[in-house]
């Protein structure tokens, strides 16, 4: 006599198990299936194409009603099992059916995770789990309007693209900084976000939903930073959790899911479980491949297979969005002993990263070209030794096993119409012709004549090889000094390309310019951060983690790990009130040393890091702000007594100095920038060894540039003489701006002036009044974004509080 098998759950896992049982022994069980959805078994992972309109529901049905009938399976669709009596071995359903079993299979799947915020019960808030949800979204989309999808994981993004395809304005709100952060690393997540934004979606990362708004119906969504987004539909797709409600009532052992052994057996020997509802060896699964593997193991076990055991699954993911090619598998977090093989092709938007440990693939992330995903996945699952493949593995299976090519031989073998520069569409023939006809001998010349490698520069290596092949031994590779070991690009090229290509974040620059390290180094990151904030003063959001500690916490680190604090004293002027407040701060925080600096300020040495916000709060309360003595920024404007007091003074040096400092404070520059104003040619403020020096004379102000009192003393070059304070300000602002825009990061004005020549600066500032005014204007615009006291927001605890408190204090 047949045994009675009852399956709770008419989804993919349960029915795949039934199919596997039928192929092994169709006569062993009398099978009854209960499903809470009122329809036959369908392919849930294909709901995304149904939403986007690329498929119909009929196309994603796996097993039709006829199939159930042909296989003598009783299907109770739309009738959920509500109770299991494990002692009597019976189940009861919502419609009142009671039925006995010999073996019970729980395949209850998972349910959407609902974030606990106000407004989740409003009409217009939906999840993305079953066909009813899809129909609900399609109905909403008919009315048009806007939708917010909460969750930037697989499901959320598929929902977002589907709604967009139905004509809605879609915003994705994602809690983490990277889309699909469980499947993708930062670089691939960035590419994905750009692609989606290119398709007209709005992507907000690092965005935490505070409430869903609406009166009787959804009208919008509020983030915890106060942002409100209008929405006629809110899709909750933040994740899934195993549906264990029934198993819990039965009294089965539950962890995150229904706990099962290697034979899919729960804590009750006659009750089995498969699919998303289970927890096996501590792991839960939300992808289809593991569910199918479980189904096979269980079918073996239930049909008398001996010694079969599920070992857990290695999973891979593909995003089902047409035209977006993303693949991810295994562990790509790196770690001790892991090596990265990275390939980037910026113009094609391709990123591939293979993580290798002990000569075996441990994980892979592919973006833009995922056709080799299955091959990598197979190598990974097989634990194959990839030593032999290593040199070419990142190019994919087509290149595997081929002989190692000599790179110049490969270039020589290219056809004349082979494209070398993808950005500008320059072929090999064009370049070779230009070289031979014009007698070109350098990369720069080829760039100038053909535009090859003039945009992203990714093909500059190829162009050099072409030069070598064409010119033979007469060609010597010219060294362009790269910014650092992470790139082949020079500082100047990176700056130019940031502006030319409109790149606006560090990950974007690293991707587009094919950085060879995942997140740069301590040399290139601060430089990129500066170049970006200089190029996009009103848009760029500063990356604090790419700044040196002094700029990150707005104080100077000292050799013992304490910090020094320098309040700003405009033009070197102070007052009894400021001095009293400083004295009080010194006493209160037992600051061990106070020193007068070379720039006419007071430096408080030996402040503990944790005390910085409180020290600043007291200084702020007395009207003082940060002196930026720690930054690659405007430091001080030093002044002499001037005509207010000095019998030799010709102009009001103090007033001029204060005005300069009020204009320029807060500015970030390639390196530190110091100014001084002397009231007469005796030059007591030492203005002729400053980056910008003003020496007053009877007829006005002499302006001097490019001085330095440091390791290599350099006296300033005389720029010109102007008559009014307003002109001094205009020249100073314009000079700072041209330095900000043209100098390399960490290049002081002295070596910069020597490199570009004084004539270049005169031509831009003195001879060309229009250009000078434009530079000055740009300087003032950038200053608008920078003149906020960094101490004040930190003293209030509003910013970077984590910097000033230990993670934990262990007694």
């Amino acid at each position: 006599m047949k045994q009675k098998l009852i399956v709770v759950g008419n989804g993919m896992a349960g029915m795949r198990t039934v199919e596997e049982i039928l192929t092994r022994d169709a006569d062993k069980y009398d099978i009854t299936v209960f499903g809470s959805e009122p329809r036959e078994n369908y392919n849930r992972i294909m709901l995304s194409p149904v939403l986007s309109g690329e498929k119909s529901f009929d196309e994603i049905i796996i097993n039709s009603h006829e199939w159930y009938a042909e296989n003598d399976i009783t299907l109770h669709a739309g009738d959920a099992v509500t109770m299991v009596d494990a002692d009597a071995k019976t189940v009861a359903s919502a419609s009142g059916l009671t039925m006995a079993y010999d073996k019970l299979l729980l395949a209850t799947g998972s349910e959407p995770f609902i974030i606990p915020v106000p407004g989740i019960d409003l009409p217009g808030v939906v999840t993305f789990r079953d066909l009813d949800d899809v129909n609900c979204m399609l109905d909403a989309a008919k009315a048009g309007g806007s939708a917010v999808v909460i969750g930037g994981g697989l499901l959320g993004l598929e929902a977002a693209v589907g709604l967009k395809a139905n004509g809605m304005d879609v915003t994705v709100v994602h809690l983490m900084d990277t889309l699909m952060e469980r499947q993708l690393d930062e670089a691939a997540g960035y590419l994905l976000a750009s692609e989606l934004e290119g398709r007209g979606l709005t992507v907000l990362t690092g965005a935490n939903t505070k409430a869903i708004l609406g009166d009787g119906k959804v009208s919008g969504l509020q983030l915890d930073d106060g942002t409100v987004i209008d929405a006629d539909l809110v899709v909750m797709a933040v994740g899934i959790k195993p549906n264990v409600a029934l198993a819990k009532e039965v009294g089965l052992e539950i962890g995150r899911g229904v706990k099962i052994n290697d034979q899919m057996q729960t804590s009750n020997p006659d009750i089995f479980a498969v699919g998303e509802c289970v927890e096996h060896r501590g792991a839960t699964y939300g992808l289809v491949a593991p569910l199918y593997e479980m189904g096979k193991i269980l079918a073996d076990h239930l049909t008398g297979g001996e010694g079969v055991a599920y070992q857990g699954s290695v999973t891979s993911t593909k995003l089902k969005v047409t035209g977006v090619d993303v693949f991810s598998a295994g562990d790509f977090s790196g770690g001790d002993g892991a090596e990265d093989i990275v390939f980037r092709d910026a113009s094609r938007g391709v990123y591939k990263r293979i993580v290798v440990r002990d000569d075996k693939i441990e994980g892979a992330v592919l973006y833009g070209d995922a056709k080799d995903g299955a091959w990598y996945f197979q190598l990974m699952k097989d634990g194959a030794d990839i030593t032999e493949l290593r040199d070419t593995i990142v190019f994919g299976q087509a290149y595997a096993g081929g002989a190692q090519a000599d790179p110049s031989a490969a270039v020589a073998a290219l056809a004349d119409d082979a494209e070398i520069c993808g950005c500008n569409g320059v072929c090999k023939g064009d370049i070779v012709t230009a070289i031979t006809e014009n007698g070109l001998t350098s990369l720069e010349e080829v760039k100038a004549h053909t535009k090859a490698s003039a945009s992203c520069g990714g093909c500059s290596g190829l162009v050099e090889q072409l030069l070598a092949v064409t010119l033979g031994d007469s060609y010597e590779v010219q060294a362009v000094k790269p910014m650092c070991g992470c790139t082949t690009h020079s500082h100047d090229d990176v700056r130019r390309l940031i502006v030319a290509k409109g790149m606006k974040s560090i990950p974007e620059v690293m991707q587009e310019l094919q950085w060879t390290t995942p997140d740069g180094c301590s040399s290139c990151r601060p430089a990129l951060n500066y170049y970006l904030l200089c190029a996009w003063p009103t848009e760029y959001s500063d990356d604090n983690q790419s700044r040196f500690i002094n700029e990150r916490v707005h104080a100077n680190i000292q050799k013992d790990g304490t910090f020094s604090v320098v309040p700003r004293m405009w033009g070197g002027m102070t007052s009894s009130g400021e001095l009293r407040a400083i004295a009080d701060v010194v006493d209160k925080f037992q600051i061990p040393a106070v020193k007068v600096t070379g720039g006419q300020r007071l430096d408080l040495f030996g402040v503990e890091k944790k005390d910085l916000p409180a020290v600043w709060a007291d200084l702020n309360a007395a009207g003082m702000v940060s002196g930026h003595a720690y930054g690659k920024s405007l430091r001080t404007v030093k002044t002499c007594a001037g005509e207010q007091w000095c019998r030799f003074g010709t102009q009001d040096a103090i007033d001029m100095g204060i005005k300069l400092e009020k204009m320029a404070w807060g500015s970030w520059t390639p390196h530190k920038f110091k100014m001084a104003v002397s009231g007469c040619p005796r030059n007591c403020a030492e203005a002729t060894i400053k980056d910008f020096g003003v020496v007053a004379v009877d007829s006005g102000y002499e302006l001097h540039v490019g001085g330095n009192g440091g390791i290599e003393v350099r006296v300033t070059d005389y720029l010109c003489t102007v008559e009014s304070e307003a002109e001094v300000l205009e020249y100073a602002g314009a000079y700072m701006q041209i330095y900000r825009e043209e100098a390399r990061y960490l290049e002081r004005t002295a070596p910069w002036v020597e490199r570009v020549g004084l004539d270049h600066i005169k031509a831009n500032l003195v001879d060309d009044a229009e250009n000078r005014k434009a530079l000055y204007e740009r300087f003032l615009i950038s200053q608008k974004a920078l003149q906020e006291d960094p101490w004040s927001e930190r003293a209030k605890g509003a910013k970077d509080a984590h910097e000033f408190t230990p993670l934990k204090i262990v007694a």
Binding site: G337, S522, V810
Partner: protein, 116 residues
């Protein structure tokens, strides 16, 4: 002794936080890939606080003289030599970080370096 010291999200990406212990400050680092590493907060060069450095890849640049220290091994990278002491870390699926806190007595014994 293993001790819970905080969660991954308490530390900024490409940043570090300090755990103050009787055996000395411990710098706990978070990489771009959310890996967590811990080292004694002292550069082998001049004792600079590594927790204040720039984190890149699996290394940190000391804020005093820009020596790069490997977060995995504590070894100085490149031409310089030296090693910072590592502290074992484990992170569970909820992101809770635990450190294997160094035995204070053992540290002291080692520091004094004599047997009596």
């Amino acid at each position: 002794m293993w001790m819970e010291i905080g969660t991954v999200s308490d530390i900024p990406k490409l940043g570090a936080r300090v755990v103050q212990s009787a055996g000395g400050d411990i710098a706990v680092f978070r990489t771009a890939d959310d890996e967590i590493f811990a080292l004694f907060d002292s550069c082998p060069h001049k004792g600079g606080a590594l927790s204040q450095g720039i984190v890149h890849g699996k290394a940190v640049a000391c804020p005093l003289h820009n020596w790069n220290i490997d977060l995995v091994s504590g070894e100085v990278q490149g031409p310089d030599n030296g090693c910072s002491r590592t502290v074992a870390v484990s992170v569970n699926s909820e992101g809770m970080i635990r450190l294997q806190m160094p035995d204070v007595k053992a540290t002291e014994m080692k520091a004094t370096g004599t047997n009596g």
